[in-house]
Amino acid sequence: MVAVASGGRGEYGRARPAGGEAVAAAGGVFPQEQVSMLVIYSIQDRQSHRKKTRRVNLLELLCNFLMRSFCLCFLAHFCTCFLLVLPNLTQDFDRSVDEDRKIAYKAAVKIQSWFRGCRVRAYLRYLNKMAISIQKWWRGYQSRRYFRKMIKIQKRWRGYYVRKYTHNYYALKKYLEAISLNNEIVRNELQEYTEMTEKEKKKKDLEKKEKEKKYKARKMHYLLSTEQIAGIYNSPFRKSPDPMELLLRQSKPLSHRRQQVRSPFTYELYDWPTCKRPPAFATGQPLPPIGKQKPQGPFRDTAEVLWQRYKPLEPTLRVAASINSPLEKAREEMKREEWRNCIHDNEFLPFSSYHKNEKYDLSIHASEKTGQETYGIKHFREVQPNKWIAGKDFQTVLPSIVLFEKFGKTYSKAGQIV
């Protein structure tokens, strides 16, 4: 570029081929647009070729530009090219060659010094970087050593802390044991609860069954066995009567009451939403039942019969009134009162020695022999065989009553409950 710039100083016609040469030489080395930029600079410079400072400034600019864009070797190459090219260019000028040479020499020195400076600076930078990296590594190593010492303590502490508080094994074990205990308790309680509910349900069921049975017994009270005819639940072949028989004995017969008319609203609340039953809207009194079938045959009216059967007693005046007159009644009354109020049995007697020779009456327990009294059980009458005339028993003349003969003999002993 310097060659081009200096080429601008001379005649236009002659400068150009040299400039062109330099440009051609330079063009082989540098990219085309930069070369054209520099050509523009040189054309501008032709008008002000006397301004050395400007040329020097331009040189500086160009050097900077070079330094930024290209490698140092290219620059070195260029400088040598320049030095070769330069003497050829200055030959054509009228000015003193020496001046030009001085200027060129100074310029070369400047460039070289600049270049060397750059190289040294680069080298220094490189050294700096190396020193830094060594120091870096060393410092890191030192602190890591220190850190390893620190870690040993922290390691111990962290292990202790975690084992004691965060993942405390023993606390966890205790917790799990507590959970199992708790589970056992809960399971037991729930088991008890289920058993209780089951028992209650069973009880309810049993009670319901009992109620049903009792109702049935009351309804079928006519199946009870009588003295003469054994009922179906009291078969003579059984050892003991059926439980139903016992129930029948205990229950009161169900009266023939007409069943109460259930209010049509009672099941509405339950069944209305599902509308399973048709709505029984209030229709007033229920109709009377259609006439029952009368039993066939010459029977009296049942109402009449019942009236007669359950007619209360109507005693006559004679019966109702007592035989004795009121006087008799009063006397009786007095006597009763006396007897009632008498406390002391022994009469008052005038002579004090009356009681002295009294025979002492033994009490019943002392006077009788031990055991049961035979009278009433073994015999009913006093027997005195020495007064008997004949040795035979009485003869029966009249026939006994057949029915009374059967007393105690109709049924088997099974009828009696042991």
Binding site: L176, I179, N182, V186, R187, L190, P273
Partner: protein, 508 residues
């Protein structure tokens, strides 16, 4: 005379109408008659009878319409199209309680089939009228109105919101406090239907103070009531942590466990659902349930039921175990694994098996201890067979595979792993072999056992691509053993030996 005759004609007509309407009402109670009734054009005949002078005819006509609409949705649509609903709604406010009940029944029957029909009911302005009915004295009317509202609200969130906007929720909470059991049931079921759609609706129900009353009713002996109450509480609790905490604060906890022992299956199921919805939100809630002994109760419940009733209980165990390893260990300590294994084997439905597989995976995935607890029950081979079975649904296969992977990655129990070695597919084999490669280098007895049980042989037979993870594991295992034995077990060794015999030059 003539007047009497005239009146007689009218009487006859009235009697005829009454008879007709009662007969239709009775016939419509049986499903097989409904087709014939519809073809005979019963709808158009019943419609004018709704406006009849005699109240009983009106009520019976409404009842008949309700039964018809109840049967299927075509008839319900016919009711809607016939413009009957606005009339019913108007008279809902005026008439006596029987008519109100019948009208509410019709609205319920129409609204239950589909969201569009429910929307039609809402558009007639039925909601306000029904809300007014909820304040009536008669419990039957309240019940009918609550039931209708429940069926409308069950379809989707907008309809629920409409019901809430009509101001029904405070009235329903009042209904719950009434003494009649049927009314309580229906009110609880309606609250459950309202709160199931979204957290805001659930919050509205909570704000009306429903939780306290529902919690009290858990102790009631009636089984159907308990079902509805538990369902309502679980719908409230399922939406968010705050709602679940509110439900827990109502002190349901030891009491709910008694529901798990009830004789009614659905009470057990709903109770388990409630506990599941609470447990799934956060580890603290699960911890609370575990501390209250809930896990034991749920495990017993699973053991005593069959079928879909078990499903919420299984999921609850999975959720609890998923939160943390301590909770998972608590589930193991409460003897949770045997019922889950039994479920896996016995159940027929795939979705229940999938849930059981998932739950086992959650239990076993935390540490080797957990994995061992799962593996000793020999459930891994069941999981593997489920994964490999082509008849299992995709969901089941996926869950079984994931569970297997999670458990195997932590399992160090060699006998269990060996059982799987023989028929596992390559993607599972990778994990099994990986586990072996981690354990065998350190345990000489295990190595001996490995050789004896034929594991080494099996490993040699595995074909793996060079450079894959499986190959690396195989190499690690092979490096644990002396070379001779590895060569001895490698396939084709006998041929190789025979070849050597062939090529051997006898030394003479």
């Amino acid at each position: 005379m003539s007047q009497r005759q005239v009146l007689q004609v009218f009487e006859q007509y009235q009697r005829a109408r009454t008879h007709f309407v009662q007969a239709v009402a009775e016939l419509s109670a049986r499903p097989q008659n409904i087709g014939t009734l519809r073809d005979a054009g019963v709808m158009s005949l019943l419609r004018p009878l709704l406006l009849d002078v005699v109240p009983t005819i009106q009520q019976t006509a409404a009842l008949a319409l309700g039964r018809l609409a109840n049967y299927n949705d075509d008839l319900a649509e016919a009711v809607v199209k016939g413009d009957i609903l606005p009339q019913l709604v108007c008279s809902l406010s005026e008439q006596n309680r029987f008519y109100k009940k019948a009208a509410a029944f019709v609205l319920r029957a129409v609204g239950k089939h589909s969201p569009q029909l429910a929307q039609a009911v809402v558009e007639c302005g039925a909601l306000e009228a029904l809300a007014v009915c909820l304040e009536d004295f008669d419990p039957g009317v309240k019940e009918a109105a609550a039931w209708a509202l429940g069926y409308i609200a069950q379809h989707n969130a907008e309809l629920s919101q409409a019901v809430v906007d009509a101001g029904a929720v405070p009235l329903l909470v009042l209904c719950i406090q009434e003494p009649e059991i049927a009314l309580k049931r229906i009110a609880a079921s309606t609250l459950s239907d309202i709160s199931k759609h979204s957290p805001e609706l659930a919050q509205t129900v909570v704000d009306a103070g429903a939780i306290a009353f529902l919690a009290q009713m858990i102790l009631n002996p009636d089984a159907k009531l308990k079902r509805q109450v538990l369902s309502a509480l679980s719908q409230i609790a399922k939406h968010s942590v705050d709602l679940a905490e509110l439900v827990v604060e109502a002190e349901i906890f030891p009491v709910v466990l008694t529901c798990l022992k009830d004789s009614d299956e659905y009470v057990k199921k709903n109770g388990a659902t409630l506990i599941r919805e609470i447990a799934k939100h956060s580890p603290e809630l699960s911890q609370f349930i575990v501390n209250a002994g809930g896990v034991a109760a749920v495990i017993d419940c699973i053991g005593s039921c069959k079928g879909t009733v078990r499903l919420p209980g299984i999921m609850m165990l999975g959720y609890v175990a998923a939160h943390s390893e301590n909770l998972s260990m608590a589930v193991i300590v409460s003897k949770g694994i045997p019922p889950l294994c039994a479920c896996l084997i016995e159940e027929h439905e795939d979705h229940i098996k999938a849930a059981a597989a998932w739950a086992l995976g959650q239990i076993g995935r935390h540490t080797p201890e957990h994995a061992r607890a799962v593996a000793v029950t020999n459930v891994l081979s069941t999981l593997l067979s489920m994964y490999m079975d082509i008849r299992s649904s995709e969901d089941l296969q996926l869950k079984a595979k994931r569970a297997l992977k999670n458990i195997l990655q932590k399992c160090t129990d060699l006998p269990a792993l060996e059982a799987l070695l023989h028929d596992a597919p390559p993607n599972i084999m990778k994990h099994i072999v990986g586990q072996f490669s981690k354990v065998l280098p350190h345990d000489s007895k295990a190595r001996r056992l490995f050789v004896i049980t034929g594991g080494l042989k099996k490993v040699q037979e595995i074909k793996a691509e060079p450079g894959s993870l499986l190959q690396e594991y195989i190499n690690t295992i092979n490096n644990c053993f002396p070379e001779e034995i590895v060569r001895y077990y490698s396939p084709g060794y006998s041929e190789m030996l025979l070849e050597r015999v062939e090529n051997y030059q006898p030394v003479l």
